[in-house]
Symmetry: D4
Subunit: 228 residues, 8 copies
């Protein structure tokens, strides 16, 4: 009567052409997939393009635990905070993006962003926990931000930090609202609308908790800078 559960590898249409069109390869989004599905798709991506590492984001615990054994002959990098798995040697980085967070609880999103940037060949300078409640922490690291080609600012709650940063640096600034917060901040809508409504010109925004998306935009900028 009932057969086995649908196998994602039978119905997914992996977009192997994406790197050619957009410069960015397909990536596995692990949320809502079984560990088997995620590991299967990672392997397929890895075999489809051996010249670059394969990446999975939003991985559940089980994928993080199994990834090393699943690819015994590969270099595997697991980021337990950012919930990412990278299979294959990282490319030599060119260019640098600063990834700044307002609080320590924003770190998982920042780590997802960092792992994506590295897998796509960009160096990362992570500047954590410099939220506007203690502004001196940000001002003390301003040189690091000004040295970067692109700045990603990750913030939940009030979402104020990206507006402050965008008024201080010449690099393109990408705001990533996070779902950190409670009450009117629960889910990240307060942070997202504050960033979109920023009084600092040129701040752009991605979806709540979308560290991956911010990284991809940053990589596209780096590619332009390098003539990619």
């Amino acid at each position: 009567m009932s057969g086995p559960t649908l196998r994602v590898e039978d119905v997914a249409q992996l977009d192997h052409d994406r790197r050619r069109r957009t410069g960015i390869p397909e990536v596995v989004f692990g949320e809502g997939k079984t560990p088997e599905q995620t590991l299967h798709l990672l392997a397929e991506l890895r075999h489809g393009d051996p010249s670059a590492p394969a990446l999975a984001t939003r991985c559940p615990e089980e994928v993080l635990a199994l990834a090393g054994a699943a690819f015994p002959h590969e270099t595997v990098a697991v980021d337990a905070v950012g919930r990412t798995v990278t299979v294959g040697e990282l490319p030599s980085p060119t260019g640098r993006t600063a990834v700044v967070t307002a609080g320590t609880t924003d770190l998982p999103v920042a780590h997802e962003c960092r792992a994506t940037l590295r897998a796509l060949g960009v160096d990362v300078d992570l500047v954590p926990d410099v939220g506007v409640a203690g502004l001196h922490r940000l001002l003390g690291h301003l040189d690091r931000l000004r040295d970067a080609d692109v700045v990603v600012v990750v913030a939940g709650m009030d979402g104020a930090l990206p507006s402050v940063v965008a008024g201080l640096v010449a690099a393109p600034v990408i705001g990533v609202p996070t779902s950190i917060g409670y009450g009117v901040a629960a889910g990240g809508i307060a942070a997202a609308t504050s960033m979109l409504a920023s009084c600092s010109p040129g701040l752009v925004v991605v979806n709540i908790d979308n560290g991956f998306g911010a990284a991809v935009h940053a990589v596209k900028i780096h590619r332009r800078v390098r003539g990619g």
Copy 2:
């Protein structure tokens, strides 16, 4: 058949006891009232308590224009930006509140706040247009903020400024979101939620555009400080 329009003075129950209970006298809210109604109620408040000035907020143009002639034997102060009318001598101020704005378009709300503070006996230091897009403007005026007993911060759009200020000063800080902005900021909800979700401890918030309410809270604090 149809009689004349309802007269507000026939149905309003002025709360002459409010000053005794809360320290703050009743004030005329001019929005949605005819000029005649507002001027009538101003006169009634003035006569009911000659020891203090009477105040009307949210006055339409016509009230601002007629107020001087309506009280020929009184000192009348009209703030055309803040849309307030004060009838009677201002009391000698004790204590000082700093009223800070993120942009010039936030000034009407700041002026409403200032006129209320002055009518209730508090000195005001107005620090306009120091939004977070150019942080040096705020940092250049930090001494003025630190010299005040209370700080009111008026901001629309991203609503980020009160969070920054509340991390820098020891005085109680009151955030006033304004309806300045467009898109996701239209109407002021983005600013209000950002302030409520602030990562800076102790920031309190009033309704959008409610410069009057922020002033009343500040006055209540000043009264405590002075032993009132």
Copy 3:
């Protein structure tokens, strides 16, 4: 391959300067942290400033259970209702804040508020369960409210109580909406908007369930009163 989970103590930038700038020391927010992280940060705060108690809010069960053993040589106060841990002797209180609740289910937020006030040197008079459905309960305690320097009113559901209180007392009144309620009241937005829209002048509001923030604002007022 994958190293251990990120240690919060390696990335958090504790704001040891906060007390100097704002009069309020850094506090540990336990939500989203492991028990080890919270206890570690509590210890760090305690050692960084032995002259004052260290406070953690939103503590999970495990922190509440372990806190006593973690600081064997200290006075440790655990509030299981308010989910707070205080390490160190409480300062002698000066001034008093009344903390009023509409219902018994609002008590956890009121307790968080009380523990914060006490850790920061303010006495507390807790007046629980006096919601507007039975107004005589509030009116019977009016003297206690009028004796306080500041009044914090904690209410979920309709959020009506702070508006009633703010019309009855001269002290500054801070409304704390809670997430208590269901249907249109679920999450506390109905209570928060009702408080922001209050017809009682001078009522200020903090984020939903933010008993801590209300306490910090109250402490800043007390400091002004005492000339701090």
Copy 4:
């Protein structure tokens, strides 16, 4: 080519049977109709059932001005505040509903309610401007509320008054949120959600500004009481 504008009397299907089914006759809602359409429908209702007055609500200025001349042989009552027109003698009232308002700006909705109650044969006791910011005003009129068979409470802004009233009287209480207010209260949603979330058992709510609907519910109760 283009013919004249659609005539409402050609397409409206007046529900002449409504009084038989529900006890309440059809009423003309004047908003979005031309003055001619409203007056035409009023006449049709009046002729269809001469035993009872015909009522139009939400009438624009022009209808209010023309109504007397349009029915020269009838008793016409125009309420310019509530924007209603009643054509025909009012029935002798039986039973009484108290209509209470929080502020003077809520009066138009209260007047619409009163005109509807009177046209449908219920006496009205209007108690205006007794909002919770000055609670003594309400407590001073409590006997009038307790003498009524039904109590309608009209309030904008925080919407707190109906919750207070419903905890004080034995009569059924109907809350009418109004669109009075600004900021988070603009449009009346804050008042409506506060009333729905009321901690006072048995409070029921109608749409924002729907004084007519509250009156109809009250009339249905009165009919039950009288054995109708």
Copy 5:
């Protein structure tokens, strides 16, 4: 160090006067309380007023299971669907309310309503599963609805049924939106707004899932009818 969890009986201020003021006694709301707290409060209510049954709503499984043994000398009625416990003999009913539901999944709310009505002395005619998708089911029971003094209509999803019923009967109609539904209907806001916006005059609405509140309003009407 940490004492035991706060005991609700130490902080709750039971409103024993409520029956005198409003005709409705205090009732225990079991959500968010421990089984011990709910049973304790039930006992206190029962002893405080032995002339009437004591009622608890929103009871968790454990309370439903323990209630019989907790009151060995009392008549205890447990409604496992409506999650209510009634302790004491039901009064002889006078008057009848019809409680109508759109679907079978709305039954828990209807049962809460029925248990409350019975505990307060009103007879109930329950008409389940007559939603508008099969209108003949409603029309087939119209006589039962027309025989009732009050009609309560419980509906989730589209919330259309109360509007249909209110156009068919002369009794006062109370709509109870439920949280039944998914997608745009999740949580019940779609049903609640549809009812508030009803084109059928006189429909009144209570909070989502608030079968208790609808019952209390109905009881207040019955009391008026009986001259109470």
Copy 6:
């Protein structure tokens, strides 16, 4: 310096291929366009495909007044209620769609729907003002609805009518929410969500006030029926 205003005909890329791909020709949406732009585009559409009439929707007054003179050699149909202009002979209709409205104020949207259906070759049976507050009006016209191939139901306020109709007929039913209503119904979201959440299977929904879109979907169905 500044040249004349942008000419829409210079920048619009009329999709002349749309009829081939989707069976539906491009149509002019008059809102936000000058009368000249709308008439120009109408002419271009008319000339591009003389075999079928050209249609403009959401026309301002001026376009409605000028359309006849602008096409002196054409058959021009102007619907002043629905704000549409049709240029060219209507095709002979095949199939019939019933267009039902809840109230008379929903008629403009129904007329837009009817004009679109006719221009695209479908006959229309308009059944106005049969909202659920007087259900007998709908039941009296049920045969007309059952005779149609497709039923479009236009309703504002509670949006209940489409759910009732979809439970009574075998034809595909399309719900069109309208912006008619006030308070929680203002703008049509209450009607739209009620329709989407319908308990009647198979009801589909278009945007608020989108009579045009409902007509296009109906036409696509008719084309299938006729083998188009």
Copy 7:
């Protein structure tokens, strides 16, 4: 005291007449029902109309596991992805609907849609994972979409795919928003509003995740095409 849990079969009023009125038989919605209730109702539907298969949607795991054994003499089809159970031989299909998905995570909704279509006698062509991020995947399957009588497009996140499809095919297109996504897309409102606001004429929309409803609308169209 407490009797057993309410039995759904005692209170449900199965609408056995629905097929006659609307062409679509009653179906069991398994969410919120116990496995016993769902299987009982399935059996009742099956026995009430043996000429057609009985269908249950939103079945929990237990129903999927037990269904085969519960109907030992029937053909039972269980779709573990779509969570449906069909009891009885499928009818010979006439006509074909294409069911298209944007991503693999949208497949459960597409499977619910497919199972419903098949149970009601329509053939299905499932085209998965052709979202707009890789447009060539959609364009490569365009012939399959153009061969279908009706096209259902299932998409979460941005909800962009239905708008693209509706501009490419002549068949009626039904958009099904899904709850797939996070941040601003969580719950499916972003996808639903994007579809309702589509710039492609004639796209109609059902509730979020409502694959069943889209199938019913499609079946109603097929019935028209076949002269049903």
Copy 8:
């Protein structure tokens, strides 16, 4: 008594340092300012930095009409569609941004974006009216998009176009939601959330109608590419 209206030039703190910090000079936002204020600030900006043109956005009609005469010795460019005024010679452009619109009604936002890009030294290729309802229009211009260094996509209603574009090009893509649309699309929230929720990696978003902000972000990218 009342002095003249506040002069913006007395309270605005022009951020002359902004170009040094961020590479982008201060710009005048004309909305909410009097024509005199806007022209005054334009002159001040122009004189403060003669090496670059001064720009004003969101200019009312009067400013557009007066700008030429206000700067008789300057090159003045007025864009009546985009409501911008540029004073001073445009710099020689380096690099190119493609600005794409979904519809002709999105053109004002695209023009604001273009004027900003040109004033800041970037060439623009404007590709109007290529929305997803007629996908061939976009595909026909794909080479122009692929030749650009940055792509800005302006879209209202469903907001689907940026997701499609971001899946087709390697350049960084910036989505600008517009307030074009009605019903659920009114105000642009539907478009904004659809873009933020995009399934195409790397799409970033600015506030609704914020063509200026998108241009600034694009300029910052160009500066990086050129080594600025």
